[in-house]
Symmetry: D2
Subunit: 144 residues, 4 copies
């Protein structure tokens, strides 16, 4: 169900020429764009959103990215993503980014807070989200 790092889901994209900076590798900020793409696809895969991030009532509170090896022009980059922890009103994504040859390019972790834009306050994770994610992520106690 999952790979050896407990990830079930991944998304792959191609490094664009524009992603590369003057040092000849993918710029450090662009890794966060790759993580963002992984989040968008994961949330869509689980049916938690219909359009883009704007309808999910979710705020990115923190991200840590550890760079392990440079990514090259035109590489196919695969980003594994999973929910590693569900708290009351926030949850944790973990990521593993791999180059085309499978080498580790980066690991990352982000904190998201569920948010009600109307009231301007954080809110508990919706029950439907909690159930869906728990059922999907075996390491959270659900699985298939």
């Amino acid at each position: 169900m999952t790979n050896e790092n407990h990830f079930r889901f991944s998304t792959t994209l191609e490094v664009r020429w524009r992603d590369v900076d003057a040092l000849g590798h993918v710029n450090n900020a662009v890794y966060l764009t790759y993580l963002e793409q992984a989040r968008v696809h994961y949330l869509r895969e689980l049916g938690l959103v219909t359009g883009g991030p704007d309808d999910i009532g979710m705020i990115l509170a923190e991200v840590t990215c550890t760079y392990h090896s440079p990514l090259e022009m035109a590489e196919q980059v695969t980003t594994w993503i999973r929910v590693a922890e569900l708290r009351n009103s926030s949850f944790i994504f973990e990521y593993r980014m791999e180059g085309e040859d499978g080498r580790l390019a980066a690991t990352a972790r982000s904190v998201q807070v569920c948010y009600d834009y109307e009231t301007g306050h954080s809110v508990p994770i919706p029950a439907r989200w909690r159930e869906t994610v728990t059922a999907y992520e075996p390491a959270l106690g659900g699985g298939e």
Copy 2:
């Protein structure tokens, strides 16, 4: 010499229309571009580099960004930066990003490793760097 957070140096830039995403605020990945600009200016201010990041033999190993408040289109954003720790072959930058009204927008921390591109290995922080940074950063024991 420093502000209340021990920062002596800051750089200010304007939020571009392109920095803003579909949610109407500066995209999370763009914060890392702002941090990068702060690094470039800091290193130039201290005379540690002449051109761009490519002549400094420095690799970004990890970055953590904590998002405190959204940045708006056309805001003037000020990023404070300081070297918070000098290790053997790596050092730590700390950052404080403020919106135009002085509110806290983000805090961040990054780890850089000194690197010899010819041998492909990390190297100790050059003595000149260590002296220059220690003299510049009062919290490291130097100061003016």
Copy 3:
């Protein structure tokens, strides 16, 4: 009132490290971001918009950019902009982009169409816009 190329208005920005691509110069697509910044500032200067491009009912229909010389990391880039022609429901911006030393970096031209998002159709240029722009641009018959 205007420089020798009939421009009254310009805006200056700094090349960011992220703007530069693997060839060591500002990437071609980023020039369009600089043009966009010039539009945003011009429209605000003339009081035609209050916030960002989203409240102006204006669609970019075409842009041509001619590249004259590369822009380098950390350069201060000045983009001159003027309305060169007012048609019925569209108008033309012309641009002249200069490097820090005053050399010509690019010239450009873009076509904008006034648009009613509610009806989904193009609309004539609002009378207030026409008057304001004509009064501001001497080459259009107005001037001070």
Copy 4:
């Protein structure tokens, strides 16, 4: 061999969340990044380059992009590209960008100049390039 617009070659990419601006559509500058990706893939397909644009001795002199319809988040965008004209030291690319449903999103045209970075002057199109492109592009008199 070609579609009705005389294009033999296309490349497809996915709109990233980061490509979209505050108006909810792909930002105008990002279209040039899509065109750039099409150039990179075309040049590689024809064996004219081995790595990225940096080894091709080619300078982008001008680009015109005509915007026909907005591109949405997560769309698969196909960019058709062909060499439309070979001059002495420059050549013309034409492009047709289509949304996921096949609708026309943009048309574009760019001028490239062959360039010797060592001497700093433009040079005639290399004979091998001329032969390869002529053989590939039926509208240029070659074809299969």
